[in-house]
């Protein structure tokens, strides 16, 4: 139980940090979609966390509530159905899920805004913004995957806490 509580706190913290960074530093990158993709890739229950990220995204925005919640949950369920559990945990699958959630969410948001006449735009502009968001989010996810992979390789053996072993392993990785 404490383990699940820690995991829940971790996901909440990740969603919070993603919202803060997304609204202050890089609005083009949908970091909440990246967190949702990561959660979905870990287990089927990750769809709940994807929905939670959608709720947070709704609350932090300026539009009506509910749109991000629905799109994150639907796209998360779709990714769960498309990718088998063994394949879902790979880095490339995480990037693809991030592309799916970020691009789909952005397409739904801008398409709905255009349909409701809130922002002038064409289908081409909607697609362009969706692709931009999807690509940038996927690159962030891939960068994070690379960092995690490097640290896992560095710390994967016993006694790896010693600096000399870490240095040797770093040399092996980079040679």
């Amino acid at each position: 139980m404490p383990h699940r509580l820690l995991v829940a706190i971790g996901w909440l913290a990740a969603i919070y940090a993603a919202l803060v960074l997304q609204t202050t530093l890089v609005p083009q990158v949908s970091l909440t979609a990246a967190v949702a993709a990561w959660a979905v890739s870990r287990s089927p229950i990750g769809v709940w966390w994807a929905a939670g990220a959608g709720v947070a995204c709704d609350a932090a925005g300026h539009d009506r509530l509910g749109l991000h919640l629905a799109t994150y949950a639907i796209l998360g369920a779709l990714a769960t159905a498309v990718f088998p559990p063994a394949m879902r945990r790979t880095g490339s699958a995480r990037a693809v899920i991030a592309v799916l959630i970020a691009g789909g969410d952005e397409a739904a948001r801008s398409g709905l805004a255009t349909m409701l006449g809130r922002t002038p735009g064409t289908l081409q502009q909607t697609m362009a913004s969706a692709v931009e968001s999807a690509v940038m989010t996927a690159s962030v996810v891939m960068a994070f995957v690379c960092v995690i992979w490097t640290f896992q390789r560095l710390l994967s053996s016993a006694g790896s806490g010693r600096p000399i072993v870490l240095a040797n392993r770093w040399n092996m990785l980079t040679e």
Binding site: V20, L65, G66
Partner: protein, 315 residues
């Protein structure tokens, strides 16, 4: 129940229903949720801002320290260059003097009777007063009480317009005394008051001084043509009266033409930076750049000839 919770499509369906409900939520509730979320995110914004500011400070600190280090190195290099330039000038003048001195067969005999010089150069350090300070001094703001009782500066200083140094007749300063920085002449004393003196920089159009060129030859530096140096009012000087028949090159050193046995070497004015003569001209048009900028000085030395005390007492 657990199976239902783990089914992604059930979760997605529930999320769609919840989203539909939230979409039709009252405007007031929506705004309230937005405001609460913004408030909740505020600490995160503060942390990001602090981290950003720290990173920016760190970067600027590194840049500032690097600039300061480079500036210090530049200052040291400029000092070294100045010292080396002065040394070259001094050695060139000494070498030129040695070349022009006739070989005296009696030197070895007379050297037994060599005595110390009667007059020795004395350098008195003086501070150059700033424009505001000079103005205040001339208006009597420093001596307002004594000013009314006759304790006042000489009229020649008060009515003059040139820059001031903080030494006057009370310190033994006399008109025409040379002003030096190192071994470079930067001007002369134009008028002397009781406590202050007006100075005339070499770049002032009113400045006149005898000068002589030192040029490089195959056998080393030799004394060249003489002329009259005067300021051009634009931070440089002109050397006049040098016939076109005399050899002159850009880069030739310019020294004072007044020879004084009390000084170990001639004093420098600067260097020729432009040399030209139009067809039909009888004289060179020479522009001389002073070795030291007289307008940027805060301290100068006033050159005076003083009696050698050891010589006075021995005689």
């Amino acid at each position: 129940m657990r199976t239902l919770l783990l089914s992604p499509w059930i979760v997605a369906f529930g999320a769609c229903l919840a989203g539909l409900l939230l979409w039709h939520a009252p405007e007031g509730l929506t705004q309230c949720i937005h405001a609460m979320t913004t408030d909740a995110l505020f600490p995160g914004y503060e942390v990001v801002g602090a981290v950003e500011q720290t990173a920016r400070d760190w970067c600027s600190l590194r840049t500032d320290s690097k600039v300061a280090e480079l500036q210090a190195r530049l200052d040291r290099a400029e000092d070294d260059l100045h010292t080396a330039t002065e040394r070259v000038q001094r050695l060139s003048a000494q070498l030129a003097s040695l070349r022009s001195t006739p070989q005296d067969p009696w030197t070895s005999v007379n050297s037994a009777f060599e005595s110390e010089r009667l007059l020795v150069p004395a350098l008195i350090e003086a501070a150059v007063l700033g424009e505001a300070t000079s103005q205040a001094w001339r208006e009597g703001r420093f001596l307002d009480r004594g000013w009314k009782h006759g304790v006042r500066e000489s009229a020649v200083v008060l009515q003059g317009r040139g820059p001031l140094v903080d030494l006057g007749a009370a310190a033994g300063i006399a008109p025409e005394d040379a002003l030096l920085v190192g071994r470079t002449i930067v001007g002369k004393v134009a008028a002397v008051g009781r406590w202050t003196s007006i100075i005339l920089p070499v770049t002032d159009p009113a400045y006149r001084g005898r000068a002589q060129l030192v040029r490089e030859s195959e056998g080393g530096p030799v004394w060249g043509a003489s002329g009259l140096l005067r300021g051009d009012g634009n931070g440089r000087c002109r050397l006049e009266g040098v016939p076109v028949e005399d050899a002159v090159r850009v880069g030739d050193l310019v020294f004072s033409g007044d020879r004084d046995g009390a000084l170990s070497a001639a004093l420098a004015y600067g260097r020729v930076v432009e040399a030209g003569a139009a067809p039909g001209d009888r004289e060179w048009t020479l522009v001389v750049e002073p070795a030291a900028d007289p307008n940027a000085l805060t301290h100068v030395h006033v050159l005076r000839a003083a009696l050698n005390p050891s010589r006075v007492w021995t005689d």
